[in-house]
Symmetry: C2
Subunit: 437 residues, 2 copies
């Protein structure tokens, strides 16, 4: 009996996880490496940031998902380096060798070289980001309630979201809903309904990947929800508590960044010195038609880390594309195992949909275009259906049914960071008697 081939998959997102699961019956030993312990259902991440859902509702441990797939070992760790010549992955002081490799480490937010903006305007890619945004948003209303002067109060109640792609639109729409409905009766010194939510976009329209008609409908729905939409106005400066765009300066304590993404730095590291076509401006790896690194059969790239055009159109960075790529890579690994040629990736575009807020969404499918309440229900059903795991789905359903009828949001808990705690820690100085040991 020969040794089983070793497969390493980097990244437990949609691309990586779908590839691993598709290889369940293949005669290989798989190692799945991720720096976090969970798979994240990214399309609902904005709900955690806006206190609609608890983190465990949209995340499941990778080990738990894969517990019965005996050919997988899950390793939680940070990949330091990939050596394409020695065919090894360096992680946590070990060098793991592979026969086949999938790099699917995804993307993060980017500030176009303006790193100093990151402190003032956090982006939303991980659960950590979501908790940071949740804490800042909820704290802003608390600070406004306690404020002694109206300038501070107004700044606390001004929310600026930069970038009108899907994430920016979701955040702005939900913030407006929170201010106008969720918190409406809870404060005594402020009227939360007077909060301003600004959505600022450098381009000429919101959700620019949709048709112009749907894009305009989305804009109108945002305005109806109470969002101030500013189009064609690039942000020129972000400082502590204010930003500048389109020649004006606005004081805002909460500035959220949804304007740019960049691929994981592993992409750049992967292509260095391989003589492959390299990476594009966003740091994404240019791959061959079968998703392999050109000149390196058996090494694949998938998901948001990939730059690929099909019939002259770039494949979008969305969950269905990542899943389809993961499946294609798995099938190509099986082909290589069997000595067959690999197959080119084909993207099956089911269409796009984007949610905006309560009863507001747009749907652009090949034979179907919708906006408003019907589109929203369609979006809701689809997203709950695609959530991983029965338990999560049921709990999300109950949470949302509850939120729908009451406007309440179940996860409005401000959790401090360790750094916050250090500030308060000094006061716990009184010592006491034993309760136990």
């Amino acid at each position: 009996m020969t040794q089983r081939k070793r497969v390493i998959v980097i990244g437990g997102g949609f691309a990586g996880l779908w590839c691993v699961q598709r290889l369940a019956k293949a005669p290989v030993d798989i190692t799945l490496i991720d720096r976090s312990n969970h798979h994240l259902f990214q399309p609902l991440l904005y709900q955690v940031a806006t206190a609609g859902l608890a983190a465990p509702s949209i995340a499941a441990p990778l080990r738990y998902i894969l517990r019965d797939q005996r050919n997988v070992t899950v390793l939680m760790g940070e990949v330091d380096r990939i050596d394409v010549t020695a065919r090894t992955v360096h992680v946590g002081g070990q060098a793991l060798s592979f026969d086949y490799l999938l790099v699917a480490s995804g993307a993060t937010h980017a500030y176009f070289g303006r790193d100093q903006w990151a402190t003032h305007a956090p982006g939303l890619k991980t659960l950590d980001d979501a908790f940071l945004i949740r804490r800042r948003v909820l704290s802003a209303f608390e600070e406004a309630e306690a404020a002694q002067d109206s300038a501070t109060r107004d700044a606390c109640l001004t929310f600026a979201v930069i970038g009108a792609g899907p994430t920016g639109v979701e955040l702005a729409g939900t913030l407006a809903e929170i201010a106008r409905h969720t918190l409406a009766r809870e404060f005594r010194h402020i009227d939360s309904r007077r909060a301003r939510v600004l959505l600022i976009e450098a381009g000429p329209r919101v959700l620019s990947t949709f048709t112009e008609g749907l894009s305009e409908k989305a804009r109108a729905q945002l305005v109806k929800l109470g969002v101030e939409v500013h189009l064609g106005k690039p942000v020129t400066h972000i400082g502590d508590g204010y930003l500048e765009f389109g020649g004006q300066r606005v004081d805002a304590r909460n500035i959220l960044w949804a304007a740019g993404v960049a691929a994981s730095p592993l992409g750049k590291q992967l292509v260095e010195g391989t003589g492959s076509p390299g990476i594009d401006r966003a740091g994404r790896v240019r791959v061959a038609s079968d998703l392999s690194l050109p000149g390196h059969p058996g090494i694949f790239v998938a998901g948001d880390l990939v730059s690929i055009e099909l019939e002259g159109k770039p494949v979008p960075g969305v969950a269905p594309a990542a899943k389809q790529m993961g499946n294609r890579v798995a099938d190509n690994i099986r082909a290589l195992l069997a000595g067959r040629p690999t197959t080119a990736f084909r993207y099956r575009d089911f269409g796009s949909l984007a949610t905006i807020g309560r009863h507001s969404a747009i749907v652009q499918w090949p034979n179907l275009r919708m906006s408003g309440a019907l589109a929203w229900w369609f979006w809701l059903v689809l997203h709950i259906y695609f959530l991983i795991g029965f338990r999560s789905r049921l709990i999300v359903l109950i949470n949302w049914a509850w939120a729908y009828f009451t406007y309440a949001r179940g996860a409005r808990i401000i959790i401090n960071t360790d750094s916050d705690r250090e500030i308060h820690g000094s006061e716990e100085e009184v010592r006491g008697e034993s309760r136990g040991a």
Copy 2:
């Protein structure tokens, strides 16, 4: 019309919240001050620490709970000082004056002057503590799986819980269940069932407030769940990755502290220079029989911050006692408003119960003593019933029903702290093209 009297309540735990709600129809203006934005159902906090429940399941925003009680203003902030002479509370740079005051700022864990132990052995009092413990416990299994040598592996798989009061027993029992059942099939290099869970207690028995018979039954149930119970062995040293007790040294990466509590430092500050009987060894305020600060009518103390003996027995620091005190203070404030004399606090002891682990608990009620599975079901029903808010109750019920049949735990998500992020932040250095602005 005369000005309405001002009531300040410090602390939104059981004592403070129950007092505020009991004053719903009183002609007073109430300010409730808490440093967090939520009321916490502390009896289930260990479930968040052990990944059984998400934080929002056991916490609800104080504003949300009190949104319809128009005579309350909720203020999120840290109290700096109470001035009993000027009758003012200093919070966030303001001095708020009061006619009536309730101080119910609770307790925290204490290390008997061994502050250096805090880093190595975190305690469990807040949601922040729970997240820290959850992250450490889950990470320990991950580190064991990745470990290169058996000494490291064994240390990662050794959990020491110090103090066999209710919290220590719950933590030890649940950790044993996680190791033996929840994670049993998920790792490839380690056998999680071989993890050691030590419960270390200086006194002669576990749950020492119960009868000797029930205490012994609890010990036997712990052993059956797989916990190593060490009684009569005080911990003499805790270092980085090890501890010493009863003359032996054990390498343990996870050490949890459940051995001591101290009252909030506000108690000490309150009595300084008032000429009242002062505080006890645990920093709790000695109060008059009507729960007022002796010599200061209209200033009350309640909950875990109180030291009071009734019929020669100290009132225990449990939720029912705190609720009853909160109600008593509210009624005494109403009496003072009406020019009537205040009434002494009477503690109605419904009995005690403690949970140990799956199918394991003990119940000691006046006419009822139980242990084992029946006691556990009794504990479960009672705790879900007392959870605040219908939605939480339902979601906890579903979570537990799911966990009961599958042994899965729904909240096994490792969330990093900001300080963790700083370590990894440097790698997000590749910048990219715009998706939006």
